[in-house]
Symmetry: C2
Subunit: 376 residues, 2 copies
């Protein structure tokens, strides 16, 4: 993998870059649609290319490991071939889902015992086998196995957890570096900064992560319920330490405004279920603001959902029609809203990149943050 920093904004810490993988090039800042179980919910693979213009998608190790399982994925020749997506994929380490979805789990130094949320079966994730699992899934970028601390989190727990995450990282790197990709293309491992909302822990963790010299670095444990200002503060503490010549990935963030603010703090990569999950609940992010499509006011608004983002789906269907489908619980409602929201997110990061390159990112961002936070 090769990252090229193309331009650094002089007024903010925003950057425009280029990340080259064996499955193609990613222009940053970028948003990665979440394809939990090998499908970005309600979206066809060709729709990810057009009209969404996704450049990389995310898969969840926990889900893919449980279903369809490693046996099927390996026989298929990896996730790209299994699902029919030949652009880059990033997989998380499964840690987050083990903590949030699995009923019973026991965290020990060795790893985590957990029960499947599907059938209650028992499983064990360790830093080593999570590397092996992600080798088999075959993502281009794979994530270190970490503990994502909740919010709020006591200082003592946050420190101990961070230290274990660092020890786990060493084990991840050892395993990753002594193994090879299974399908003839390169994979790379991103370590994850933890430390909860404690500045000294974040500094310590960011320095530790930076010292490992991997090809990219991630910031975890944020967007878990803390106030946005706290998230921005922690993000900035970390991006000030992480190497400038490596991509920075802020995990699980966030709203359009969160993304713009964090781009301004030097983050290059984002993922979040919000555009697809909220779409399924009738919440649309548009270039003019936020729409609750269930609202009565849209019932006879026959204007397009959002003609301003160059997405064929957002220009084709009207607000009134989408409202009708949503109220009527038609599957097509989820399809249209998911494509729209993802198109909007990809449009937004594309615009951010264009303004970074054009040199007017700061003023554009200030205006845009207001717009995208407005409730229409």
């Amino acid at each position: 993998m090769k990252f090229t920093l193309q331009h650094a904004d002089p007024q903010t810490k925003a950057r425009a870059g280029k990340l080259e993988t064996d499955h193609g090039t990613i222009l940053t800042p970028i948003f990665m649609p979440v394809g939990t179980a090998g499908s970005v919910k309600a979206v066809h693979q060709h729709e990810l290319l057009d009209p969404i213009h996704a450049q990389i998608i995310l898969g969840n190790t926990y889900h893919l490991y449980l279903r369809p399982g490693l046996d099927i994925l390996e026989k298929a020749g990896g996730l790209h071939r299994f699902m029919g997506w030949d652009r880059p994929i990033l997989t998380d380490s499964g840690g987050y889902q083990v903590f949030s979805l699995s009923g019973t789990r026991k965290i020990k130094e060795e790893g985590v015992m957990f029960k499947s949320h599907i059938d209650g079966s028992k499983h064990h994730f360790t830093p080593e086998n999570v590397m092996d699992i992600q080798r088999t899934i075959g993502a281009d970028i794979i994530m270190a196995f970490d503990e994502c601390t909740p919010y709020p989190c006591e200082y003592g727990y946050a420190r101990k957890s961070m230290e274990m995450t660092h020890r786990w990282l060493k084990r991840c790197m050892n395993r990753f570096d002594e193994t090879e990709g299974k399908y003839g293309y390169s994979q790379t491992l991103f370590p994850i900064v933890q430390g909860s909302v404690y500045k000294d822990l974040r500094v310590q963790s960011a320095q530790f992560i930076a010292d490992q010299g991997r090809e990219g670095n991630a910031i975890g444990g944020l967007s878990v319920g803390e106030p946005a200002e706290m998230m921005y503060e922690m993000t900035e503490v970390v991006t000030d330490i992480l190497p400038k010549d490596k991509p920075r990935y802020l995990m699980g963030v966030g709203t359009p405004a969160n993304i713009l603010e964090c781009i301004a703090l030097g983050v290059d990569m984002f993922d979040c279920v919000m555009p697809t999950r909220n779409a399924r609940n009738g919440m649309l992010f548009t270039s003019e603001g936020i729409i609750n499509i269930r609202n009565e006011k849209w019932k006879d608004d026959f204007s397009p959902i959002d003609p301003g983002i160059g997405s064929s789906v957002s220009s084709f269907y009207s607000k009134a029609y989408l409202r009708h489908l949503t109220i009527s619980k038609e599957i097509l409602a989820a399809q249209i809203a998911s494509i729209h929201n993802l198109s909007f997110y990809l449009w937004l990061v594309g615009e951010a990149r264009a303004h970074i390159l054009a040199g007017d990112f700061a003023s554009w961002k200030a205006e845009m943050v207001k717009k995208v936070s407005t409730r229409l």
Copy 2:
């Protein structure tokens, strides 16, 4: 509307025709995907064009009347504009849904009182207002208000019901003929033959319907639980009487084999929820036979769903991937399976037409009925 009978098969009663409407031409025999509430479930409008190649779709008056309601549809300029579909549309009369979905309903000579399955509100359908409603929805082909008798049905009830359906037809025609389309294009009214599974009633009804001299005719009250042989027998009784120079529409039919058999009996138009409803339950109709995609045998079958029907979606996704999505309850499973099944149905009627024109329909049909009935 103009119907041209292009070719009559000498060995069977199958026909190839051309039906011209203000929204475009339909080549028959044709299958009409069902778009109940203004959406063919899980399918985008552009997907109906390609890869499905739908030429006409069906909307349900009962559903559209309740939601989004006539006010919205009229403001939108009719259903075509509301949903963004500029090819032909046929609407049923709402009678079938009143009888099957509405909890409480009272059938009287004047019309039917019913309660909405959505909110329990009370409504009244009469032959006259159902014409007005379909004028407002704006379908190219609208259906007479009839009573669809259940199976089994006592002879006395079937006869009385048929006679009322005939009286209702007169009222439908009067209202239809004294009103005009609202959106600048022509609409046409199809009457419906009833008579349950009684040959003498079917003969009587078919003669009555034929005598009205409308531009097309429909056969209702079949595919409601009676044995297939009985359905074929009644269909043939009716098609032998209905005028040859008008299209015949067999309502609510059916399986791929049903459709092939009824094409051979002289039917030109079909609709059925089966391809989309069964798709959502993981049942696929393919050119090689029927697949239950949940079956373990497909878990590592990475071959395309059905490469034999020229549908990009059916060629792109593998059986193993679709099985995984189905088992995982991913929305994309419903999307892929619905597009596939509809692509297959449209492929099947297109092939039937080609073989009618080529003169080898009978032998092709015999072979195909076996194939499409096989469980893989």
